[in-house]
């Protein structure tokens, strides 16, 4: 018996239990009746071959995506449709000058086939105009589109229909000064110069704005040459919202379209979208579809204590975390925040692969799980619940083994199907609620099958407003399961480290191979534990340069001379540990503020205008020092900062997004600024400390106060091709206790040891740095003030229940014990390299 397609119709609308579930999962974020749209970026270019991106909303709005094809004469490409109906992909088109090629995207949806087409045009066969590196000396570029029907006062300084635009010299800092008053101007439309030689058609650009709601009108852009060594001329042009209210469209004046690097600022009269945000750098020659202008920043952190928030000085919020133990029962506390305007929640996303996709559009099958957070707050991520919420591309072996569970899955969907009488037209089970469908747990109990370790989970959030993405995605938090366990015995569970054991057949079958060649090395050059203050130097300062102070009496201060303050109150070294762990470090100390001012003044001339203002530069310095763990109030602050100059400068240019052409100069000025700032601090001490002689530069005596534990490392990028790899530096420590430790705390040792069967005890919290790029053949010296002592408190399997006991227990191991310090450097395209040093924990080591 056969039936035609037309005869196929369901008699039971809600027959399948999952119909409602599908609606719940897929319909909510989908616009109804959306029209699939195809956008090519670029939509034109020079023959013979152009690569570009595909995008567009409105696909499979009422169904599920089965497949996507990209076709056309001379066209290759691929694309996917994300939840929400947004198409994303790439294409390559080959043709001849002047040719028009129609690119077709066909998406097979569960509700039918959807097709959209767009034209790509190769540039005409005429030589392109020469692009001047600087704007013409007189302001006579072709005027932007002339006003048409909109009646408005003559805009100033924006071009009118009868005059060339007047370049506007921006203020020295594009941020702290008030934005120039903008007279609403005409909407940008194409048009020739009236009464003059017809100008080349301006090039149209589109840019998405994230984190700032765009008004319906009155949007303007300021465009200027990016390099500060070039002319300060800039232009203001009007922009209009496109079909998508968060997408701006504007015409780039031809003079700028042939220029190099341009800086784009969005000018809005909205406190939520200040002009001080860093500019968008675009290439005048480049793509029609620009990278988004992003307002705000989103941060995400994880608690080192698992499901418990850091408090009372133990635990910390971090972006990289290692943990062991049972995976299925892991609950991870995370917190996030954003400065994006209007965000009231977020989408969280978890993958097993490093996240490298545009906002909210993961490749099919990449998501391990996602969910929503209904506030800007902390929330708990349950590992047990991870499951792809969208059907990933199925794997062949899973298909085969799951075939045996067909009936189980059907019974799970419709448990009430039993007993339904045959023959009734609506005798179908009601849709199962979401909670009735249990995902297969990632790990069932403790009896896991073979799992490769380490296993990295990458988490990020995308802010939303009313459920719609409304801000930049956060940084990625990496949660690494090491497979180790301090509590649960996994000795019966085979765990294979496929990074090392890539020859294991299981690992080979999964595609693990030999690691890439080692591209980096790391050396531990120095280490010292707590260095106690030496009594005779406690509270003292050293004169840093010969200084003559003339007054009623002329005083000569020689470099190296010691000037001391009255004896400070005695404090035990253990109290210092407590202070270090729990004390608040005052980053805004006046001496440090003077250092930052120096850095700012040096960097300001080198940094492109509007890229990173005063507070931004200061923040870069702060961030670098925080990463290294160097607070400004430790006695050897100058020494450590000086050691870390290269790292601080490299990190600063990387974080600020300085264009490559300007990085060397900015780094040079940054380092000069820090060095000048250190000198300024020396002067500031003399000014701020009342008993120090005025005008005599000094620095704290290195032995005048306790120095926290410290390690100096050197990372070298071995000669080889430069790659855009992510390079991580991890420093971990473990302590080898000595029975000759502090006898007073020794009573804790058996209890401590009783809780841990095997494994090692960390001494300090692990440190993790993402390194800025290092040129091949170069090294970067990195001083690290080792983070807080690792206390066995507040986590599963902890040995102590009180903070004081935990500190005492830590001390028992520190005193007399040896520290095994291990530094690992590796990343996305380098085999890991390590260095290990074992030395008494409380003493010093130097290579």
């Amino acid at each position: 018996m056969s039936h035609g397609r037309a005869a196929r119709r369901s008699t039971v609308r809600g027959g399948l239990a999952v119909a409602g579930l599908a609606a719940l999962l897929y319909v909510l974020a989908r616009p109804l009746e959306a029209v699939p749209t195809l956008v090519l970026s670029p939509a034109g270019g020079p023959a013979p071959t152009v690569n570009g991106a595909l995008s567009g909303p409105g696909w499979c709005s009422t169904g599920l995506v089965r497949g996507v094809t990209v076709t056309g004469p001379g066209v290759t490409g691929s694309a996917s449709v994300a939840r929400g109906g947004e198409l994303a992909g790439s294409f390559a088109v080959t043709g001849s000058p002047g040719q028009l090629v129609t690119i077709t995207v066909t998406v097979s949806c569960s509700t039918g086939t959807e097709v959209a087409r767009a034209n790509f045009r190769f540039n005409d066969p005429t030589p392109p105009p020469t692009s001047p590196p600087t704007p013409p000396p007189s302001p006579t570029p072709t005027p932007p589109p002339s006003p048409t029907a909109t009646a408005s006062p003559t805009p100033t300084p924006v071009a009118t229909a009868s005059a060339a635009p007047t370049p506007v010299t921006p203020p020295p800092t594009a941020t702290s000064s008030p934005r120039p008053a903008i007279t609403p101007g005409p909407t940008s439309t194409a048009g020739p110069t009236p009464g003059g030689t017809p100008a080349p058609e301006p090039s149209r650009r589109r840019v998405r704005v994230v984190g700032c709601p765009l008004p319906a009108e009155g949007i303007r852009l300021r465009i200027s040459m990016a390099a500060s060594t070039q002319s300060d001329a800039s232009w203001e042009i009007a922009a209009a919202r496109g079909q998508d209210p968060q997408v701006l469209e504007f015409e780039l004046p031809p003079a700028l379209a042939t220029s190099g690097l341009l800086a784009l600022h969005l000018l809005l009269d909205d406190a939520r979208c200040p002009t001080s945000e860093r500019p968008l750098y675009i290439d005048g020659h480049g793509a029609t579809e620009l990278a988004p202008i992003v307002y705000g920043a989103t941060t995400l952190e994880a608690s080192t204590l698992g499901a418990v928030a850091p408090a009372g000085g133990f635990g910390a919020w971090v972006q990289q975390l290692e943990f062991g133990g049972a995976l299925a029962t892991r609950n991870q506390l995370l917190r996030w925040d954003t400065s994006a305007a209007g965000a009231d929640g977020a989408i969280w996303q978890v993958t097993l692969n490093p996240i490298d996709w545009p906002e909210g559009t993961p490749p099919p099958g990449d998501l391990l799980g996602f969910g929503t957070v209904s506030c800007v707050c902390s929330w708990t991520l349950p590992f047990e619940g991870f499951a792809p919420k969208t059907p990933p591309a199925p794997t062949w072996s899973a298909q085969l083994t799951e075939a045996a569970f067909t009936l189980v899955q059907m019974l799970q969907q419709a448990p009430s199907a039993v007993g339904a009488s045959a023959g009734t037209s609506t005798g179908v089970s009601p849709p199962a609620s979401v909670t009735s469908i249990q995902p297969v747990p990632l790990v069932a109990g403790d009896s896991s099958p073979v799992l490769p370790v380490p296993l990295d989970f990458y988490v990020r959030v995308v802010p939303t407003a009313g459920g719609v993405p409304a801000g930049p995605p956060s940084n990625v938090v990496r949660l690494r399961w090491t497979g180790d366990s301090g509590v649960i015995d996994l000795s019966s569970v085979p765990i294979v480290d496929c990074v090392v054991q890539f020859e294991d057949p299981y690992c080979k079958a999964l595609g693990y191979g030999p690691p890439p060649p080692k591209a980096y090395t790391v050396e531990i050059l120095e280490y010292h534990g707590w260095i106690e203050a030496v009594e005779e130097h406690a509270g003292c300062y050293l004169v840093t340069q010969d200084t003559t102070v003339k007054g009623l009496v002329t005083l000569e201060y020689k470099a190296g001379a010691q000037i001391c303050e009255p004896e400070p109150e005695e404090e035990s070294w253990l109290e210092a540990v407590v202070d270090f762990v729990t004390g608040a470090i005052d980053w805004a100390s006046t001496a440090y503020a003077d250092l930052k001012a120096e850095v700012v003044s040096f960097v300001a001339s080198a940094m492109p205008p509007g890229l990173c203002d005063e507070s931004c530069v200061g923040t870069l310095l702060d961030a670098g020092l925080v990463a290294l763990g160097i607070p400004p109030d430790i006695p050897n602050f100058d020494q450590l900062t000086d050691q870390g100059l290269d790292y601080l400068a490299e990190r600063a240019v990387s974080e600020a997004g300085v264009p490559a052409a300007l990085q060397d100069e900015v780094k040079k000025q940054f380092k000069a600024g820090v060095q000048a700032g250190l000198k300024e601090m020396e002067q500031a001490y003399a000014d701020k400390v009342p008993w120090l002689p005025a005008g005599v530069p000094v620095k704290p005596h290195p032995l005048g106060a306790r120095q926290p534990p410290y390690a100096l490392l050197r990372v070298t990028h071995l000669a080889g091709p430069t790659t855009s790899c992510l390079v991580n530096l991890d420093v971990r420590s473990s302590v080898i206790p000595s029975p000759a430790g502090d006898l007073e705390a020794a009573k804790y040792i058996p209890y401590y040891q009783g809780q841990y069967k095997g494994g090692t005890l960390p001494l300090y919290e692990p440190a993790h740095l993402v390194l800025p790029p290092i040129a091949p053949g170069q090294s970067l010296q990195i001083p690290l003030v080792l983070p807080q002592p690792w206390l066995s408190l507040g986590h599963a399997g902890a040995a102590y229940y009180s903070y004081d006991d935990a500190v005492e227990g830590w001390a028992a191991y520190y005193v007399g014990g040896s520290v095994r310090l291990r530094a690992d450097v590796g990343g996305t395209c380098s085999a890991p390299a390590s260095d290990i040093v074992v030395t008494p924990a409380s003493s010093s080591f130097a290579k």
Partner: protein, 236 residues
């Protein structure tokens, strides 16, 4: 294709995230080989009319991909227990063949029959040479013919909140070299809640499988055999 039926089928696939499309359904256009397996070249569009009865909702074919390291942790199916040891071994054996897998496809169809639901799916997997499907079939035989597989299925059901136990039943319309598993699910009172047939066979470099399951009342006489034969493309 009916939008509603396709939407429902699509919804089923989507909602069953971890369930994943069962086995693909493939019906060769011209089933003619005597062993019941259509020629590899005949794999293509699914012929609706081949399935007996009416009201079948046919899903689109889905391509299958190789495992990646990320799948190693996320795609585990079987319950880790002594009863499922054979299934776990089967799963691991499949993983070892991962690099030899070249291409594959799955396709499924569903039919509402009064108060019961039939789901049939077919899967074909192609490997680099004929040795791999031989190995896979051998591993499948060891797993499906083990005495504890019913208990393993029961544990899988319990994991999903379905309290049933499984009993073996004979599989109709099987060929001599097929690896098969037939079971029925019984609830606590002994009432049957469903039944399932799983048949695997190989054809040169291809490993093929058909899974036919039904919830509710039992199949009518010869109904399961007819669907299985149609799914395989055999005229038995």
């Amino acid at each position: 294709m009916s939008p509603r039926s396709s939407l429902r089928w699509g919804a089923a696939l989507a909602g069953l995230v971890l369930v994943v499309a069962l086995a693909a359904f493939f019906v060769p256009r011209a089933p003619s080989t005597t062993d019941g397996v259509g020629p590899i070249e005949a794999r293509g569009l699914f012929e609706v009319g081949v399935l007996p009865g009416s009201g079948w909702d046919i899903g689109e074919p889905r391509e299958l991909r190789r495992l990646t390291p990320a799948d190693a942790a996320a795609s585990r199916v079987t319950h880790a227990s002594q009863e499922c040891a054979a299934m776990l071994d089967f799963e691991r054996a499949l993983v070892l063949l991962n690099q030899e897998f070249t291409r594959g496809e799955t396709r499924a169809a569903e039919q509402i029959d009064g108060g019961s639901t039939n789901r049939v799916s077919r899967l074909w997997l192609e490997y680099a040479d004929a040795a791999q499907p031989v190995a896979a079939l051998a591993a499948a035989r060891a797993a499906l013919e083990s005495t504890s597989v019913e208990d393993c299925l029961g544990q899988g059901a319990a994991d999903r909140g379905v309290p049933v136990r499984f009993e073996r039943i004979p599989v109709p319309a099987q060929a001599a070299d097929d690896v098969t598993l037939g079971v029925r699910a019984l609830d606590g009172s002994g009432a049957q809640r469903g039944m399932q047939y799983l048949v695997l066979w190989r054809d040169e470099r291809v490993l093929a499988a058909v899974a036919l399951a039904r919830t509710g009342s039992p199949f009518a006489p010869d109904e399961a055999a007819a669907i299985l034969r149609a799914a395989r493309g055999a005229a038995r």
